[in-house]
């Protein structure tokens, strides 16, 4: 192995982004920035999942002209993680959308997007 494989780069990037996202979510007071941090976490996990399914020297799991149908299992990367990523993206979008809706509602009600303005419920 002369060079760093793509999957390793992806995994490292994934974990780095995860840490960035977690840091963002606990350090940024602005609700929109928190939501963005959440999206970063989401993305990092997608990267990780993709890296998991990656097998070197294989092609995308799409059966077309570049893949021999009979030997497909030996020529394509693992399709399952990719399916998972697609699902995770959809769910992530859903959650992010709902978060943004909440942000909008909070802003409309209180004219503030600072998370520490919303502490009336405690203890």
């Amino acid at each position: 192995m002369k060079y760093l494989g793509l999957e390793y780069i992806t995994v490292i990037a994934g974990f780095l982004l995860l840490i960035v996202g977690l840091w963002g979510i606990i350090s940024q007071k602005n609700i929109i920035k928190m939501i963005i941090s959440f999206s970063i976490i989401d993305t990092s996990i997608h990267l990780l999942l993709v890296a998991i399914g990656f097998i070197r020297n294989r092609t995308a799991p799409i059966i077309d002209s570049s893949v021999d149908k009979l030997k497909a299992a030996d020529q394509i990367t693992d399709p399952l993680p990719q399916a998972l990523v697609l699902t995770a993206i959809v769910i992530g979008i859903g959650i992010t959308g709902l978060m943004l809706t909440y942000a909008l509602k909070l802003y409309r009600q209180n004219k503030s997007l600072e998370i520490n303005q919303y502490k009336s419920l405690k203890w």
Partner: protein
Amino acid sequence: MVNPIYIIAILLGSAFLIGLFQKKEKGLAGILSVLALAFAVFVSVSWFIHFTSGQQEVLQIFTGGARPPFAINLQMGLEESLFTMVINVLGLLGFIYLYRDFREEGIKGSVIFLVLMMAMNVLIMTRDIFNIFVFLEVASIATAGLLYLKKDFRSSAAGFKYLIAVGVISSFLLIGIGFFYLHSGTLNIDTYLQSNPTAVKGISMAIFLILIAIILELKPFPANGWALDVYQAAHPGISAMISSGTATASIYLLYKLLPLSSNDWTPYLIAIGLITFVGSNILGIAQKNGNRLLGYSSIGQIGFMLTILGLAPRLGEHFHFIFLSIFISHFLAKAGLFWISGIVQKQNIKEWSVLRKNSLLLFMFGFFILTLIGFPPFPSFYGKWQLIMELAQQRFFILIVAILAGSFFEGLYLFRWFGKVMKGEEEKENSLVIKWEKILPPVLFTIFAVIASYFLNNASEYGHSLNLIPIYFIILLFLLDFLPAWIKNSLVITAMVIYSVRLYPLIADDSLRLIFAGIFMLGGILTLFAGYSIKGKRAGFFPFAVMMYAGLMGLIEAENLFQFFFSWELMTLGSYILILRGKKSLIHAFNYMLFSLGGAYLIFIGIALSYFGHHSMDLNILSSSTMPGWSYSLLAIGFLTKTAALGLHIWLPGAHAEAESDVSPMVSGILLKGGVFGLILLFLLMGAEQSEQHTLLYVLGWLGALTALVGNLLAVFQEDAKRLLAYSSVGNLGYILFALAFMTNVGWLTALTYSINHFLFKTLLFLAIGGVVMRVKTHKMYEMGGLIKQMPWSFIAVLIGIITLAGIPPLAGYAGKWLFYNAVITKGWYFQGALVFFSGTIAFLYCFKLIYSIFLGQPKDKFRKVKEVPIWYIIPQAVLIIGIMIFSARPDLILKPLGNMLAQSNYFPTDPLSWENVTASTNLGYWSGYKIMLVIGVMFVILLLWLMLMSRKAQKIKQFNIVYAGERPFKPETTHFSHNMFSHYYKALGFLSLPLATGFWNGVNSVTHQVADSTRRIYTGNGQTYIIHILIYILIVYMLMF
């Protein structure tokens, strides 16, 4: 059978279909939703019936045209059918409950609700890990969506915090799932388990992430601030869904996923669960907001279930029973309470007293609270009992203590709440709007809880040994509560007579039990007679009176420790509510309950310790405890909370004094003997041979003596007549404890004579004084005075009572005294004996004060027209006086068989009394109640005649006739010296009556509250703090585990 996949299809299909509706078609949307949810209930119920009627084979449902691991499969077995059933029933009722609120929002609510229900069903049935992630997210989105519908901005803030927290948690779940797939090559639980997985570092890490994420979904303390905010802010109907629904699905999920891990999660789950259970319940103490309090309780209960889940391998075959019992109680009670909260619509628990406007709601509230606490015969009692006993067998004593401590804290805040609802300040505004769809779900859940109790009782190991007739009678009384009091009173008295007649032949040979059964039953019937004087319905009195008596009788009849403890708790519960009925009883009843609850848990631990190493629950195992020091001490302290020994007595004066006039004699003359009976049973079984027992008895002897001294002394300084009698009870129970601790034949005869006497005279005195108090409407003795003319009968009754109390010949109190001297001299406990003797002298002081201040001296203006007490008070008094006379003249009728029994059955064979007709003699002397009675009677008649002869020229004068007085009194008060009557004694001995015990317990109380209040500040309300809690939590568990 309908394939369960249709649950998902129908719920999801209806949700999509309703999504297409116009806003004005919301009525149709509602109907469609109800139909869809009812369909889900139908399917899961039919599968549950299918599996419970003997079918074993689990149904596998394949989707996507392929078998796992290539496609997702669902599973429907007994467990799945049970959990989908409860969740779907909850969903249907929860939707009906929220129906009107959803209508206002149009169709959105229905759509989201159906999606939430679908997600929970899938979570329970699916066998695919990624599917779990997806539907957890769907459930979260749906929950957040439901929160979004509420317009209040606090709800929005809580919803956002919830989303962020759940988002972070599920990120870890997803990472875990990804790496799980990387290492195992499958996402299917069954495929993975069948592949005989080996533990490699990577996969255990992945499984760790999956499991910790599910655990975090279950809101472990302290990483649960986000959940508390949601409970507080959400519409109670939605909180009910989260607390009972989502939590159920999540805990089943954890149960399903636990086998994946090759790590032993047992200790971690136990620790996480217990920390949550105890921590959450302690923090609950400082909480005033009803919904948030329910949240704390909810989280605590889930923690408890986590512990049980962790203990599963150790509990073996009992696991399912224990888990179900705790689970179903939490499930039903928490949903019920949240639903009631939605009807009440009050924040502060103080304002919940508005519930008193509706007796059905009040009943259900009490019912659910008691279900949560686990009093018998509520469902969780059975599981808790079984759990504690199993833990004891396996020597997990620390766990027992922790579980009971958590339960105690929970009981503390729940009973405080209960008390405030029952007796707290009246709510002015009449704001209880009750709609049918809001009341139906809790009513059904109450019925379900009753059914669950029935089945759990049948399924429990010792449940079949219980006598459930009294319980059915109590239920009947609840149903008949609309009848007038006199009918119910007659019904209860008849029932008690029948019960006594039935019971008599069973215990006729056992004088000891016979005496106590006599006290409980005869006393019960007599005191109930006084209740005839009360007009109206007297709602809610009779079921609890019967509960108390049923508990007391259960103690007598108990053949095993399960029955004993069951009855003990029943008695406690009944008496608590009776005491709570008094006008100013709120705080006193609460104190009573706290001491009783603490005492009951000590008894519980004591029983568990005694059970260790045995294979039966028979009472006799107490005689061969393997940990005699601990188990006997704990049992003794537990019983002493009921007999109000010094230090544990502070609840008694208020509880007895502030109770209703006819309840005071019940809880004083009769109930206290329940504790005495417990002590007797314990002492009989444990014996006095070993050194541990010896030490314990010696300490208890001293405790009894000091209790007698302090109790009597405190009685002397009371101005409140009923408090005086109450403190006098403390003193008297001190005598009984002291004499019991002798463990000699004569000592026990003394104690039993004291018990009988105390029953007779204290019931008599409380009835007489209670009657007077009822007439003059004050407890203060110095405000009374000169009542002898208005209430001659009460005067005679009190006179007879105090003669017996003070132990003056010829009445039965003297018998006790004579026996006492014999016993003390034989035993050789001279110093303690002298103390008790001295306290007996002190008793003269308060006896005098009682009769002088109330009946003698100058009558007050405002009481010139009061009437004698009602005939219904006089009848039981007359019977008691006859009882005292018979016992005084012929003590041999009771004491002889009793002494024989003690001597013959090898309990205390040495130095018995020897009887010759009615004369008893010991080595020290002899005594005959009959002769004394005759001698005193003759003396009395002679003196009376002499007095009448001497005073035949006496002239009757009016009160203010100054011819015969030194000066003219301005008002009656100035001629009547009864306020602060014994102040000179106070100067000498007052230091002994300082409220040290009260101060100590107040200190304990305030420290606990301080701890609770400062700890709960970790929930800062900031969403980011909550995320940090979650991250730290994961880190700590990880570091402990790897």
